[in-house]
């Protein structure tokens, strides 16, 4: 079984902007270890010369003309925001933070 420690969990949690309490980190370490032990099965295939599939359609992703079209107005775009001020999204202060 792949050994995942709670330190590993905490490292990747940080990369993903998540945080876990110690009990959850221990539980996740065990569960991720178990999942990785299973999915590591794909390593037994030698696929060095096989191209990776990123898009299953026999076409390139479609493009349309770059023309201006109606889109959400400022009011609508801000309507779901937790905090706003005069047509801006409001967030905690990020400059001159002590």
């Amino acid at each position: 079984m792949t050994d995942i420690t709670h330190e590993t969990v905490e490292h990747y949690a940080k990369l993903a902007n998540l945080a876990f309490d110690p009990a959850d980190a221990e539980l996740l370490a065990r569960q991720l270890g178990s999942i990785l032990s299973h999915v590591e099965k794909i390593a037994e295939l030698n696929l060095d010369d096989v191209p990776a599939t990123r898009f299953v359609l026999p076409q390139e992703p479609a493009h349309r003309e770059d023309e201006v079209r109606p889109s959400l107005g400022a009011e609508q775009a801000l309507a779901n925001a937790p905090d706003t001020e005069s047509h801006h999204f409001l967030v905690p202060k990020v400059i001159n933070v002590k």
């Binding site: 990747y12 993903a16 996740l28 299973h38 099965k41 299953v56 937790p82 990020v94």
Partner: protein, 477 residues
């Protein structure tokens, strides 16, 4: 009138004036009132708007005006599909108060077809799960047995159809989230080809896999709903640039005798005996009807679950980065700097399964692991596509069980993520290859729980797939 009646019957009754859409909608609302307390299929029912829309359609029909192909039929939508002005929660605390600012393309098309948008159905949070138990906003149970799960992640949509609350519903599938719950609930569910149905307005989970698809009590209903939503869309860059030929009009045409492949990797042990018997029965019926049955091999099937969970979680970790408490969704009440706000909003807003998948996806995309996990999984995907291409050189469709067992008990797999992931073992290959696949009911097991069998077809082969499924449905009657 009966919500369990086929869509064909309901449409005939609406067209002849034997029933009004208002009566049908009220019947649906009555069924929800009577049954949904215990089933829990719906997160939100739009009662007033639905009745108003139904009256308008009745009025237009009575005045001899042109009405759409689904005019007056109630449709339920999985709650990860946007309807302008309505909540889209993805069954998550993080989107609990999100109001969609625009219609998904499938919603625009349903409105053009004059379908009545009745409400939004429960699901696993962000479509991550196989039992609908990972919803943060409600519990859905299997209408056939309330101790069992309805499957997932589109469990609310399939339970709503199975309980006779609506004749039609939309679900979405990333790894089996339409076919698996359709099988558990005893209804028909289609995952269309990747690119066939626009995903504009569907909240993204695994973008190289996600598809919206129809659920109904029978194949004809699925074909009608599929016809209403399929076809190119210039708001989805992954939309297949191929015109859609309606499937419903040709559904009953016999066509050339079917060549059906049985992939042996789906039949190797572990299958519930009644499901094996149901498969054998359908094979025998098809053969009697003139079909050729061929043994085929899809040798990379055993690697599919691994490749799927690596690719889906990697894509999810990227897609769900947008939920940070700034532009929409839940924001923590705790004080702190910007980064604290991100971390707390996400940690408080997402449920455990979503966090588990984000973590796994982040891990397998990270430096040092990317090649071995994500890239290798994308290569396995190439081999799975080649397996299908080889198989379809000799057969029109493939036939296999949808799930290894019938609906499992509520709570049975909640504490074992890997056991839950293995519930998708027969469905993920179609998503990885981007091909269409449909599950249809094929009897019940010894406990009276529905059995589902699936048919798979080549990319964009939905019309032939639906014909084969229609034939199966007739043969099993």
């Amino acid at each position: 009138m009966d919500m369990f009646a086929s869509c064909n019957t309901l449409i005939e009754q609406l067209e002849s004036g034997a029933v009004t859409s208002e009566a049908l909608v009220k019947e649906a609302l009555g069924a929800i009132e009577a049954r949904d307390g215990e089933v829990g299929a719906f997160l939100k029912v739009h009662e007033e708007a639905a009745v108003t829309q139904a009256r308008d359609i009745d009025r237009r029909r009575a005045a001899g005006e042109q009405v759409g192909a689904l005019a007056g039929l109630p449709v339920a939508l999985k709650d990860n599909i946007n309807i302008e002005g309505r909540r889209t929660t993805c069954a998550s605390k993080i989107l609990e108060n999100f109001t969609a600012p625009f219609d998904a393309t499938v919603v625009t098309r349903l409105k053009q077809a004059d379908a009545v948008l009745l409400g939004k159905t429960n699901m696993d949070e962000f479509a991550m799960g196989s039992s609908s138990e990972f919803s943060a906003l409600g519990t859905t149970r299997n209408p056939h047995n309330l101790e069992r799960v309805p499957g997932g992640s589109s469990g609310g949509s399939t339970a709503a159809v199975a309980a006779g609350m609506v004749p039609l519903a939309l679900g979405s599938s990333t790894g089996g989230s339409i076919r698996q719950p359709a099988a558990f609930c005893g209804v028909v569910g289609l995952k269309p080809s990747y690119g066939r149905v626009s995903r504009y307005g569907l909240v993204a989970y695994g973008s190289s896999l996600d598809q919206i698809g129809p659920v109904a009590a029978d194949v004809a209903g699925v074909a009608r709903l599929y016809d209403a939503i399929a076809g190119p869309c210039d708001r989805d860059a992954t939309s297949a640039q191929v015109a859609h030929t309606p499937a419903f009009p040709g559904l009953t045409e016999p066509g050339a005798p079917l060549r059906i492949g049985l992939p042996r990797e789906f039949l190797d042990g572990g299958l519930q005996p009644e499901i094996q018997a149901a498969l054998n029965n359908l094979v025998a019926r098809y053969r009697e009807a003139g079909a050729t049955i061929v043994d085929v091999s899809l040798p990379h099937t055993e690697y599919a679950i691994s490749a799927y969970y690596l690719i889906a979680t990697a894509e999810a970790s990227s897609n769900l980065a947008r939920f940070d408490g700034v532009r929409y969704g839940f924001r923590t009440q705790e004080d702190g700097n910007l980064r604290d706000m991100y971390v707390r909003s996400r940690s408080e807003g997402f449920g455990m399964e979503v966090k588990r998948r984000i973590l796994l996806g982040t891990y397998c995309l990270s430096s040092g692991y990317y090649e071995g996990y994500y890239l290798q999984a994308q290569k396995v995907r190439t081999k799975i596509i080649e397996d299908f291409q080889k198989a379809f050189e000799h057969v029109d469709v493939l036939l296999a069980p949808t799930t290894p067992t019938t609906a499992f008990a509520a709570g049975a797999k909640l504490d074992d993520p890997m056991a839950m992931y293995l519930a998708d073992i027969f469905t993920v290959t179609a998503n990885l290859a981007g091909i269409p696949a449909l599950s249809l009911p094929a009897g019940c097991d010894n406990d009276g729980l529905p059995i589902g069998l699936q048919l798979l077809a080549p990319h964009l082969g939905e019309n032939r797939l639906l014909q084969a499924a229609y034939q199966a449905e007739q043969l099993l009657r």
